[in-house]
């Protein structure tokens, strides 16, 4: 019993003991199966889910936490306790179970390995120490040294069983004897491989000599290569501060070897201590230099690419740690010795080549025979196919030897040698309808020229002249189109082009937007195809007005020229797109700004006003009007800014405007053909100006050119006065009929004027688009002349019209000219002549008559008008720059100036007086006398053009008039003013 008792004490109990059964307690019923449930510590049921889904269910019905689910910690802030940052830790998301003993984050300290204080594994220690260098805290092995696991791996166990002991290498045991011998030999001769002078073996060598021959030794232990994952976020090659290095004060100036980390620390670990001057203080990449230290050149780590390896492999560690890279090390050693034996300097980053480069064996070229001539003669071609008896191999050899491929049968060719026509015939496809080559699209003469050219270059090749009838027909079709035809001729050519061409449905429909027009156009085309000569007239709608018809005529002819059968034949080669592009209209400003060139010229001549002014419709924003307190000028319009219109991308008008520059004449001469440019507008408007005193003067550049190109300016001025005096006599007659004077000029002009009056025309751009270049030479020339006349007239009108704004006092000269015609002309002539000395070449011709120059301009125009005829021949349409005035002008002007200086001075006085005059008066007067003036100048013009004999006489007249007559006129003026 006692023994039993003792035995009881020694018992080790496992598990929890069952409750002792009590006698009186009834036997418990076994728990039924459905009640055998698993509960956690808190008594919650744990339902089994299956091994793969995580075992037991977690939380509340597989959710986290409670019935409400997992509630995150809420943000609370108060005055005392400002919101501090809440960092969520992983523990916040764990259940209590996880903190338990067997959880994933146990709160208690548990052992994960068994520990022992047995003998240390030195090799492992070394490896660990090496690995620790790469760790975040270098040299952090202290803890591991203190607590070392007792468990050894199965491999170690097996090795132990096999007789391995710690500290030994693995492998067959070796003898040391031969190694020693080799070493001895190495001193005298160095054949073959040198053995590494292993540092650790040196010490062994001392007692090895005592070792007997039959004793073998275990191989040297090898330090395992430690592959440690990078844990930190530092970049590649970063080393933390190594206390051992840092305390030595060594900078990071040595070569960085990414593939041999911590080689120097390793070598230091294995005993080859470097001879470095030990310094105090801490230094390293992250540390500067202390205040007490004197060297500061290496404060900042400077990096350079030369410190990195750029090639994998390369140098192997020479630290005796030969693991799996061991074999290379021996060759490496040899290199080292070779490097040392090399006398020259080896560049950094280079080593001596291991193997000397193979010398190229250069064979000398064969000696040429003395009679060799370097001229190549081609051997004659041999038609292999014709050599019937030749074997195919021979034929092949012949071919290859010559380098010439003899033409083979098409059957033997690959499919890449076939051209499209051959393929088509093979496939049995129909030939394409259109022209077969680009040459077909050319005109025959062009083609002929091309052929000639080609023939001349290689006369031997015979050019295939197509004898195809249809092609010839096509050529004929194309003939008529290319050269710029004119007038009816063009219509004929169109007819010729369209005649007989098959009705292709794919022709371009230029008037698609207006179906009726397109229908008429189609009709026209049909007739053309039938060869109807008056197709155009027949296809037009007779109910339309003449103007509309002529316009349409024009368009149709143009369109038929543009989309002639050639293009349709070309288009037959292409298929039209399945999905039509909707973007065939572009948004453009409705009112385009006019040509800048014209305006620039106008600015150069300082003719501001109509020429430089453009007015657009502009829609201000509604709100803007409200803010400016003005009513909306365009109520109800949704537009803001400049109104935009959609315009067809491919509208005929677009094409026509492009064609404008080309000299394409239209066959039917429309009645409006005379007016076609923007200048017409100005003409039209200037008609209105005669009624409107505020409107600007229409000055035309031609007048300027007239004036300055006038060879005899001084004479002209004097003549002007005489003419004026004469016109004074005829004043009554002139007043009677304006038509008469106009009619005196030229019949052509009259006609044009009548034409202009005959109707109000549609908007300008329409004209521009259609008729820009559509007029034969005759009509255009006549219109030019008429334009000139008109312009000159306009300008003269405008001159007297000139109405400066209210705030300005006008120059008196204009007043005088308007009030008394005769005196004005004389005085103005005088002033002009005197002023021209200074400013004939300058802007004296401008109509800007704010300054006193208005008198000058008026005079100069009278003069200019006199020479209008001569200048007319040179006139060209459009604005021109004034040619530089000839020196003769100035001389003449000076002459006149000397003659009439006193008159000028007198005139000036008058001017000053008259400036204070009432402006309204002036306006009225000007209005009145404008017409007179205009006619009178017309008259003078005529006079001058009539005869050149008058010139001398005029001069005489001038002399006579100048003194007495002028005084009289001046008096006249003054009386006028006082009235």
């Amino acid at each position: 019993m006692a023994r039993d008792d003792d035995g009881d004490e020694d018992f080790v109990t496992f598990g929890t003991a069952l409750e002792p059964l009590e006698d009186d307690e009834p036997l418990r019923k076994p728990i039924p199966l459905h009640e055998q449930t698993v509960k956690d510590e808190k008594g919650r049921y744990q339902r089994f889910h299956g091994a793969f889904t995580g075992g037991f269910s977690a939380g509340y019905f597989n959710t986290v936490g409670s019935k409400e689910g997992w509630t995150p910690s809420t943000f609370v802030s108060s005055r005392q306790q400002k919101a501090d940052k809440h960092h969520a830790r992983p523990e916040d998301f764990m259940d209590e179970e996880d903190f338990g003993e067997h959880g994933i984050a146990p709160r208690q300290i548990t052992t994960s390995l068994e520990f022992s204080s047995s003998r240390r594994d030195e090799a492992a220690e070394r490896a660990k120490a090496v690995g620790a260098q790469a760790a975040l805290i270098p040299g952090d092995t202290l803890l591991e040294e203190l607590i070392s696991p007792a468990k050894s791996s199965i491999g170690v166990e097996l090795l132990r069983r096999m007789g391995w002991r710690e500290g030994q290498g693995v492998g067959p045991r070796v003898k040391r004897k031969p190694r020693r011998q080799q070493q001895a030999e190495g001193g005298t001769k160095a054949y073959g491989c040198m053995l590494p002078p292993a540092g650790s073996e040196d010490s062994e060598d001392e007692y090895e000599e005592f070792a007997p021959d039959n004793v073998t030794f275990a191989p040297k232990d090898v330090t395992p290569v430690d592959f440690s994952p990078r844990l930190g976020v530092q970049g590649l090659g970063y080393r933390g501060l190594d206390p051992g290095l840092a305390l030595l004060g060594r900078g990071a100036d040595e070569h960085i070897d990414l593939f041999r980390p911590q080689s120097e620390s390793r070598s230091r670990l294995f005993g080859d201590a470097r001879s470095s001057v030990r310094r105090g203080g801490v230094a390293g990449q992250a540390f500067g230099v202390g205040a007490l230290e004197d060297d500061d050149e290496d404060v900042y780590h400077r990096d350079s690419m030369s410190r990195y390896d750029t090639v994998l492999g390369g140098e192997e560690p020479g630290d005796g740690l030969f693991g799996w890279t061991a074999p290379q090390q021996y060759t490496k050693k040899k290199d080292k010795s070779k490097d040392a034996s090399y006398l020259g300097k080896i560049l950094e980053g280079f080593t001596l080549a291991q193997n000397p480069p193979e010398e190229k064996v250069i064979f000398p070229p064969p000696a040429l025979p003395s009679n060799y001539r370097p001229v190549h003669r081609f051997r004659p071609q041999v038609d292999v196919s014709r050599l019937s008896g030749v074997s195919p191999a021979l034929a092949q050899a012949l071919k290859t030897s010559r380098g010439h491929m003899i033409k083979e049968d098409p059957q033997q060719e690959g499919r890449h040698q076939l051209d499209s026509g051959q393929r088509r015939t093979m496939l049995g496809e129909d030939a394409l309808k259109g022209p077969s080559s680009v040459m077909d699209l050319l005109r025959p003469e062009d083609r002929q020229r091309l052929l000639n050219l080609r023939n001349s270059t290689n006369p031997t090749t015979c050019t295939p002249v197509s004898t195809d009838k249809s092609q010839v027909a096509k050529q004929d079709l194309l003939v008529g189109v290319a050269p710029p035809p004119s007038g009816l001729q063009q219509q004929q050519k169109v007819l010729a082009a369209w005649r007989g061409s098959n009705a292709s449905t794919q022709t371009f429909k230029p008037f698609e937007k207006t179906p009726s027009k397109q229908a008429r156009y189609d009709l026209y085309l049909d007739r053309l195809r039938q060869g109807d000569t008056d197709a155009l007239e027949q296809s037009l709608d007779q109910t339309m007005t003449e103007w509309e018809r002529s316009r349409e005529r024009e368009e149709f002819v143009r369109a038929s020229v543009l989309y002639r059968p050639s293009s349709s034949s070309l288009s037959s080669r292409f298929t039209s797109a399945k999905h039509k592009e909707d973007e065939d209209s572009v948004e453009v400003n409705r009112d385009e700004e006019g040509d800048v060139d014209d305006k620039q010229n106008a600015v150069k001549m300082k003719m501001f006003g109509k020429l430089t002014r453009e007015t657009f419709e502009w829609h201000p924003d509604k709100l803007l009007c409200k803010r400016f307190n003005v009513p909306d000028p365009h109520p109800g319009s949704g537009v803001v800014g400049l109104p935009k219109v959609k315009r067809d991308k491919f509208s005929v008008f677009n094409f026509l405007s492009v064609m404008e520059s080309r000299e394409m004449a239209a066959p039917p001469k429309p009645p409006e053909s005379g007016k076609k440019s923007r200048w017409d507008v100005s003409q039209q408007e200037t008609k209105g100006t005669s009624e409107d005193p505020q409107s600007a003067a229409q000055t035309q550049p031609e007048t300027k050119s007239d004036h300055s190109s006038d060879p005899g300016l001084p004479a002209s001025s004097s003549r002007g006065t005489s003419a004026a005096s004469r016109t004074q006599e005829k004043l009554a007659d002139l007043q009677s009929s304006e038509k008469k004077t106009a009619g005196d000029e030229e019949e052509q002009q009259e006609e044009d004027e009548e034409q202009e009056e005959e109707e109000s025309r549609p908007s300008m751009d329409l004209f521009k688009a259609i008729f820009a270049s559509s007029s034969d030479e005759k009509s255009s020339s006549s219109s030019e002349e008429s334009n000139d006349e008109e312009d000159r007239k306009d300008k003269e009108e405008g001159k007297t019209d000139l109405q400066p704004a209210n705030l300005f006092t006008i120059t008196t000269s204009s007043v005088t000219t308007s009030s008394v015609t005769t005196s004005s002309v004389t005085t103005s002539s005088v002033t002009a002549s005197s002023v021209t000395t200074s400013s004939v070449t300058t802007s004296s011709v401008t109509t800007s008559s704010v300054t006193t120059s208005s008198a000058i301009t008026s005079n100069s125009h009278t003069g200019a008008a006199s020479y209008q005829k001569s200048a007319q021949e040179e006139l060209e349409f459009g604005p021109k720059l004034p040619p530089p005035s000839t020196p003769a002008d100035r001389g003449g002007a000076a002459q006149i100036c000397s003659q009439s200086r006193e008159e000028f001075s007198r005139k000036k006085e008058k001017k000053h007086k008259s400036r204070k005059q009432n402006k309204h008066k002036k306006d009225k007067k000007k209005k009145k006398c404008k017409k007179h003036k205009h006619k009178q100048e017309k008259k003078s013009k005529k006079d001058e053009s009539d005869s050149s004999e008058d010139m001398d006489k005029d001069d005489d007249d001038d002399d006579q008039v100048s003194t007495a007559e002028l005084l009289k006129r001046l008096k006249n003026i003054q009386s006028h003013r006082t009235r």
Binding site: K599, F608, E614, W618, P620, P631, V850
Partner: protein, 320 residues
């Protein structure tokens, strides 16, 4: 004529230097009178806008909030607000009294050259190097412009507002006049980059200076040239021009350090005011009196018709 017409006074010219204000805000880019001509706004290249009193020449307030040099400014009719524009692409509406930014309007794509209130200060109009004029509403709190006028093909260099008309000068060589009442846009082609445009006081003419060293007086309604004023040098800088308060003279800055003053009618040079050696950057004429402001480098100079002492008396008498 019941009453005899008053004798026309000989036009006076601001030829006496009254005072020089050293603004100390870098180069003065623009100098402007307020609506009644008692105060001066100077736009500095150091991002500041300064308010001065003309009569004393004293400094009153600095308005800072721009991110780059201030290029133009304008005061509202009731002196309660100032608008200014800057190279930082923004237009700022200031409260005069507090000096706070009431509104900062962004939207221009480039530096804003010129800014103007309309007559009732309900709209700010700003012209920019991006070629647009933007009309900003000061009444609502919208930050988008009411309307963007993008007709110009180049930078807007100058703009003026008169009643229902907006006049803009652009580097594309065109003077545009937007007539809100008529709903029309009139474009006058000048062919040289416009540096400054002005309405005459009577609203009948427009004055435009361009880089061909010419100032042109154009009739507003027709676009005719009424006068051309040359002699000064304006080749590369955006310099101002203006008309005198009575429309008697045309004044223009010049790159040779003078302010040229021409008789409007005669077209003759009536005064060549030596301001300094550098370029006269900006000038402004008093809305009613004969008083001229010029800006050269960092200084603003006030010029008057009479020497200083008389002016001072004239100004100070009402106070007594």
């Amino acid at each position: 004529m019941a009453f005899p017409q008053p004798k026309p006074q000989a036009p006076q010219l601001p030829q006496h230097l009254l005072r020089t204000i050293d603004c100390q805000q870098g180069a003065v880019r623009a100098v402007r009178f307020n609506a009644d001509g008692n105060y001066v706004l100077s736009c500095g290249s150091d991002k500041s806008l300064k308010l001065w009193s003309v009569s004393q020449g004293t400094f009153l307030k600095t308005y800072s909030g721009h991110g780059y040099e201030v290029l133009d400014a304008d005061g509202s009719y009731d002196n309660s607000q100032i608008c200014s524009c800057s190279s930082d692409k923004s237009v700022i509406l200031w409260d005069v009294a507090t000096g706070q930014v009431t509104r900062k309007l962004r939207g221009h794509a480039g530096k804003v050259n010129c800014v103007q209130f309309n007559e009732e200060a309900t709209v700010i109009l700003s012209g920019s190097i991006d070629g647009t004029v933007r009309c900003w509403d000061t009444r609502s709190r919208r930050f988008e412009p009411i309307q963007v006028l993008d007709e110009a093909r180049d930078s807007i260099s100058s703009l003026k507002v008169a009643q229902h008309e907006l006049l803009t000068g652009s580097v594309d060589g065109r003077v545009r006049r937007y007539d809100l009442r008529m709903g029309q846009l009139h474009v006058d082609f000048v062919n040289s980059p416009i540096t400054c445009v002005c309405f005459s006081q009577d609203g009948q003419c427009t004055l435009s200076s361009s880089l061909d060293s010419t100032v042109r007086l154009l009739d507003k309604s027709t676009g005719e040239m009424l006068g051309e004023f040359t002699g000064h040098k304006m080749k590369g800088y955006k310099l101002d021009c203006c008309l005198s308060s009575k429309d008697t003279h045309v004044l223009s800055c010049s790159e040779d350090g003078f302010v040229y003053c021409w008789d409007l009618v005669e077209g003759s040079l009536s005064l060549k005011l030596p301001v300094g050696k550098a370029v006269v950057q900006s000038l402004a004429f008093h809305p009613s009196e004969t008083c001229l402001l010029t800006a050269m480098e960092g200084r603003v100079q006030v010029w008057g018709a009479e020497p200083e002492d008389i002016i001072v008396v004239l100004v100070e008498r009402p106070r007594d």
